[in-house]
Amino acid sequence: MSATYEKLVDLLVTHFAVEREKIRPDATFEELDLDSLFLVELLLVLQTELDMELADDAVNRTDTFGHLAELVEGRLGVTP
């Protein structure tokens, strides 16, 4: 896994108290127990932490964690 992926995992664990073992590329945010308000917060935190822009509807609850990781990596111009 890429450094960005690992960074996102750490952020979910430390900031959103998601259990590390639950986090897989194919896990949806619903499965990670992140509701729509938490998702908005996650996107805001990402923008501040990574100094990048993300629309507040960039991901929804049925999207996977892997999808978010790809989106972030794309914005950062990093190859997975």
Binding site: H15, F16, A17, L37, F38, V40, E41, L44, Q47, T48
Partner: protein, 408 residues
């Protein structure tokens, strides 16, 4: 006025500067030693002391996501409410949640969250402000979170009457039981306002003790050398039920919540009305609802903030109603002034005084103010039968709330 149907106190939960739990708080209050300490959050400010809850760990004491979504005033309330419900023997898994109400007093709400997010807005711009700012800030979330945590889907609201908020909540809660809108009400108060801005605000008013070099001597209600209060934080939650219901399920009743009286001074934004006319009216209403006369009241847990003005006016008012027949104490000497939580924490301590026949001492009362002509308990706790006890709470804006408890 005839006394209303008996309301039983069947559960207590306390989180105070003495620690987490009713027993540790009651023991500390009975020892009569102040819990005030220097507070690193306030470093560099003229007033840097407070009565802060030690060792609250949100992830351990509340839940894994607590730090993300709860301001401290919510965390304190959740911990106190869980203890109170467990103490009552009621089981949230099996109770009829629609008949369980929640009424919590809170003066300010998530003020630390507000300050942190405001700083982010100024320093980093709007994108850096948390989407959870509002649900962490607004005071009504104290009651809202207790509903979510315990599955209580009955009437649910927060009362705000500044430093009387917690006592006002108890009065409103009893009314829900009398009106048969609920069978159980979780009621109390919560406050976590020990922030740089709030402490500065109170300091600017001149109401805080300046005795920062000797924190444990700073809060000294009714003492001649008092110079203001020590700001505190905490939460107190009580479980109330109609006494008949409590008896029917064989629940231990700690005391009866027998009377509530409330009034407004309509006098000044912060200073109590000097003759205490409205306070006396609130006291008489509470006694009438309880069906007791002033001569039957044995103990008063005073508002007793340790400010010059409050303590003298309150003492004069108590003297006018009760003569010298009551043993008065102010537990703010030990726990500081917890503002919106104070009325509820002190209600719980008054219940314990009735239950245990013990009147706690007022910390730091070395020399009674010459203008306080009352039997104020000092030094060590006094053990004596307390059949009827009263707790006073007065808020900025002249909002007065008085509670009467009787032995079960």
């Amino acid at each position: 006025m005839t006394p209303g149907p008996g309301i039983a106190v069947t559960g207590l939960g306390l989180v105070t500067a003495a620690g987490i739990g009713t027993d540790v708080s009651w023991r500390s209050v009975c020892e009569g030693r102040s819990r005030a300490t220097r507070n690193p959050v306030l470093d560099g400010l003229p007033i840097d002391i407070s009565c802060t809850v030690p060792d609250l760990q949100p992830a351990r004491d509340v839940g894994p996501r607590s730090a993300l979504m709860h301001d401290r005033f919510i965390q304190l309330a959740i911990v106190a409410a869980r203890e109170a419900v467990a103490d009552s023997g009621l089981d949230p898994k099996t109770w009829d949640g629609a008949r369980v109400g929640v009424v919590i007093g809170c003066g300010l709400g998530g003020i630390a969250t507000f300050e942190k997010q405001h700083r982010r807005l100024l320093e980093k711009g709007p994108q850096a402000v948390s989407a959870l700012l509002l649900p962490m800030l607004v005071p009504n979330m104290a009651a809202g979170h207790l509903a979510m945590d315990l599955g209580a889907t009955g009437p649910n609201f927060v009362t705000a009457s500044a430093c009387a908020s917690g006592a006002t909540a108890l009065g409103a809660a009893a009314q829900l039981l009398r009106d048969d809108l609920c069978d159980v009400v979780l009621t109390g108060g919560t406050e976590a306002n020990v922030s740089r801005l709030m402490v500065t605000g109170f300091a600017q008013m001149g109401v805080l003790s300046r005795r920062v070099d000797d924190p444990t001597a700073a809060s000294r209600p009714f003492d001649a050398a008092r110079d203001g209060f020590v700001i505190g934080e905490g939460s107190g939650v009580l479980v109330l039920e109609r006494e008949a219901d409590a008896r029917a399920r064989r629940a231990p009743v700690r005391a009866r919540f027998a009377g509530y009286g409330a009034s407004a001074d309509a006098h000044h934004i912060t200073t109590p009305e000097p003759e205490g006319r409205s306070v006396r009216r609130a006291i008489r209403s509470a006694l009438a609802q309880a069906g007791v006369g002033p001569e039957e009241v044995r103990h008063v847990n005073a508002h007793g903030t340790s400010t010059q003005v409050n303590d003298v006016i309150e003492a004069r008012t108590l003297r006018a109603v009760f003569g010298d027949g009551v043993a008065v104490t102010s537990t703010k000497g030990v726990l500081g002034h917890t503002l919106g939580a104070a009325g509820a924490i002190e209600a719980a301590l008054t219940v314990l005084a009735v239950q245990h026949s013990t009147i706690p001492p007022t910390a730091n009362l070395d020399q009674l103010d010459a203008d306080v002509d009352l039997d104020v308990v000092s030094g060590t706790a006094r053990e004596e039968k307390v059949d009827v006890a009263m707790s006073n709470s007065f808020g900025f804006g002249g909002q007065n709330a008085v509670l009467v408890f009787t032995a079960a």
